[in-house]
Subunit: 549 residues, 2 copies
């Protein structure tokens, strides 16, 4: 059997556009002689469709467009992910289904059994799990069609009561197809390969895997669709972070393959080039799917805004990314020079707008109320907020989206001004720890100097008062980031962190900072997710809670 | 059997404080001769505990404090809600359990069967459902202990496959106890009474129901704990929106009661006094649980800020609520007079801070970039943002929390400035449609004029340019609110709305406004939830989606 893997970039709820993409790929696969073409989970609606799924019309649209797509399936079978109605009269109103289309009609529906409901996933909010497993006969081949999580219940402490793969195997399939919506994080490609290998080896059967590519606000889909033989060896793979269509043909050797080696996953050494590519795609798709072309951001001369503008320039084209230098009386000369040099290196348009006048005018306005009270955090926040007013004024006037430049370390401990430097339509680095921001900077400079060396080597400072340094109020980033990683990604509590050797006073202080800033993070822009645990929809913490681990 | 219903206001993750409250109530119930004292669902941890539940230490703390509470149970049995570990080795790591404590120890655990995962509920994120039903013997009485949703699968289109109540009844209990965490919305008290009545009547058995009171950021718990006889008649009820402990004793008449009349639920006529009380509790608890006492807000002379300050004054004491008038050159004299009169009526401290100077200074800063471009939305947003900078400066300097005054109609259509009037720690009216804001104003004025009549009767305006009226860019609020209600609360799509008689052009326009402002609402403050579908964690829409119903 010749099978086409169609890895596409869908837009959520764009039935017309997604149908066009899907039927285009069907035609192309047919032309290449494929018997079967496979699309991703919930391909037709886009993923995640969220509460759109609660609108009856959204399901009507799905059914209508599936019929349209089926009409194009002549001489070829297509597997397309989409919701379908639960007609049993009990349970959630929908299934998450693989629609099997052929001979111009809908031939069969296979429903997802395991519904992920952790981290960013809310599938049990909408879908009823399948209760049994049925096999699909496609061109004389017995195919077990599974949906994403259905092949993931492999842990020693299984998250679900059922093993759909065991149920599938009881039907003696010759091939497993898995359609997925598996978002990127820095280890996901490795874990995914491991899961496919484990399944192939356990059941001695080839597996075809098709994922989404493209980004939807927070979630970035990396693609990485592939075909594994019965030994779990990757025989064919589609690219990361871009669309692709590939026709494969399994032969006898696929069914009698030797075992692939295991995949090593190393939590602590994130692959920075993957993160780089994910962020570029995340920016590009946010803009194109929102219907915008141009970005604006503040350039401080520091590392975070430098990395953000470099990523944005790659995503949108340098000419579409406007860097604004907003110096105050506390900004150092070298910061202005570094920021200007950066914009020149990239070829981004840039302007200098001094904030001192607006700041002084506002200080005068506040004078009757503040009197002789000492200047402090309030005045620092005022400067950050004036910058935001200026950036938003430019964004509103000229149709830019403001990019937020806060990193994950800052976001965690609340080191940032709400309605100030925490503004923006999209937070590019909000899931990247400060130490990884430096690694990104080195990666960006890998073939030529884009980010001035000085921005990389100088000690980090918000420059909101004379001589201010991040290290005045925060632990060293190398230590802080390690602590945060274990607290946030690994869900370790105070005692476990102390046992790891972190200073107890620092643990108490940092955990408290993280918890007491939930209210602030509630109002931050959506963050491009590149880790297994990002701030945003995947991390749901009470704001008024009295607990911090 | 004498049973005490303990309706308490817990703090999420405050194990010490919650344990103190619980043991205090046990002692008091014991003193009053109760054999059994019943607390709410997840009482010990507070509800919702969110991803705190993923910390092992959080469960260790639960177990430790349950032992402490059990030690106080001598001569009395207590039922306390809390998570417990799933030791089966399969499925989610926790159960949502009723801990039955007596004789100084943990006697039994009963797990929740039906885990709500819609709207604001995420229970399947953390908990494994119970697989069977076990009955508890308490003081010689066979008691079916159920947890909240377990008695709610009563619809003609059941949301779950199982009917725990049928399973419970098979064990021939003499009494049903339901411990709940059932948050307020304007119809919830009626629906809850209906559900209790239906269960009591169906199974001819009395039901004891214990809920939380108190608010946790968005979610407000109204209490309303009660005891129903076998006819579904409410025999005893605890107050709404406050703590209470009540000892009841069932006699033979409870078991042979005539049927209570059905409860009529009318979606369109929200009980405004309940909404009022809910909002007051929501404000009060947000401040007390965040450790703050004082609020600040901008007073425009309009109805939204007037209602917000009146509610805040009731919640926090007038002396703790600071109203700031921030007139611009476009503010009318009557607006300033109305706002001042309002503050005087309430006895709230207030100040006038003119924004024109800061606005002009900022306009000058922008002049080289804006040149001769016509003044418009950008300049309107600049004014709103300058107000926010001033309010936040005062909040930061003096330790206030800024209250947001946006209503649900505005929030829906994006009529507001992000980082401007959309700022605040808490959005008081964000789940109240404009037409209901007027009803709240009349309710606030029910015994004396607090809100000046002029603020109620004048046509609404943002006063950001000369002669501006809301009606310039929005449909009449009476029509808009009805449309929004059916779209948001009822999930009706375009076609259903047109069939209801709404103008097709208006439907298209309004639905598009709602959808295209998801990015803005993503960054708004948490909203006090008083409806079955509020903006916030209960409504999860894609930002980059191409669909609007």
């Amino acid at each position: 059997m010749k099978i086409a893997l169609a890895q596409l970039n869908y837009t959520i709820g764009d039935f017309e556009g997604n149908t066009r993409k899907i039927t285009g790929a069907i035609a192309s696969a047919h032309k290449q002689g494929a018997d079967l073409v496979v699309f991703a989970e919930l391909a037709l609606t886009g993923y995640p469709a969220g509460d759109f799924l609660e609108f009856d019309d959204f399901i009507v649209q799905t059914e209508m467009h599936m019929q349209q797509i089926a009409a194009e399936c002549r001489g070829i079978t297509a597997i397309v992910g989409g919701p379908s109605r639960n007609k049993t009269g009990k349970g959630k109103p929908l299934f998450n289904s693989a629609w099997i289309l052929g001979d111009g009609q809908v031939k069969q529906l296979v429903h997802k059994s395991l519904l992920p409901n952790y981290d960013v996933f809310d599938e049990y909010r909408y879908f009823e799990p399948a209760t049994g497993f049925s096999i699909a006969g496609i061109g004389g081949t017995r195919v077990a069609v599974t949906i994403c999580e259905d092949i993931w219940n492999t842990s020693e402490v299984p998250l679900y009561q059922r093993y759909p793969m065991d149920e599938a195997i009881a039907h003696q399939p010759q091939l497993i197809i898995n359609i997925a919506a598996s978002p990127f994080h820095y280890n996901q490609a490795l874990i995914r390969r491991q899961v496919l290998r484990d399944n192939a080896l356990k059941y001695r059967i080839p597996i075809i895997y098709v994922n989404h590519t493209g980004a939807h606000t927070e979630l970035i889909f990396d693609g990485g669709s592939m075909a594994c033989d019965s030994g779990g060896n990757v025989r064919e793979a589609l690219p990361f972070f871009s669309e692709g269509l590939k026709v494969i043909e399994t032969d006898a050797a696929w069914y009698d393959a030797s075992a692939a080696p295991g995949v090593a996953v190393d939590d602590e050494n994130r692959d920075i080039s993957l993160i780089h590519d994910a962020l570029v795609l995340g920016i590009r798709d946010y803009f194109s799917k929102m219907g915008f072309r141009k970005a604006i951001l503040g350039l401080s001369g520091g590392i975070d805004s430098a990395v953000t503008i470099a990523l944005a320039a790659e995503a949108l084209g340098a000419e579409n990314v406007h860097g604004i230098l907003l110096p105050s009386e506390f900004s150092s000369d070298h910061s202005i020079d570094d920021a200007r040099q950066l914009a020149l290196n990239l070829g981004c348009p840039h302007e200098i707008i001094k904030i001192s006048e607006s700041f002084h005018s506002l200080q005068q306005t506040m004078q009757p109320f503040f009197g002789d009270l000492p200047s402090g955090l309030t005045e620092e926040n005022m400067q950050a907020r004036i910058r935001a007013v200026i950036l938003m004024a430019l964004a509103n006037k000229f149709g830019y989206i403001l990019l937020n430049t806060s990193n994950k370390s800052e976001a965690a401990v609340g080191y940032g001004t709400l309605y100030g430097d925490m503004c923006g339509g999209l937070a590019v680095l909000g899931d990247v720890y400060k130490t990884d921001v430096y690694r990104l900077a080195r990666h960006i400079n890998r073939s030529r100097v884009i980010i001035p060396e000085n921005s990389i080597v100088k000690p980090p400072s918000a420059e909101l008062r004379p001589g201010q340094m991040d290290s005045d109020s925060l632990p060293d980033y190398a230590v802080l980031d390690k602590l945060l990683f274990n607290y946030i990604e690994k869900r370790m509590g105070r005692r476990e962190l102390e046992e790891m050797g972190f200073d107890p006073h620092m643990v108490t202080r940092v955990l408290k900072m993280v918890s007491s800033n939930e209210w602030k993070r509630y109002q931050t822009p959506p963050i491009l997710r590149v880790s297994p645990k990002a701030f945003g929809t995947g991390r749901r913490m009470p704001i008024t809670g009295k607990y911090s681990g």
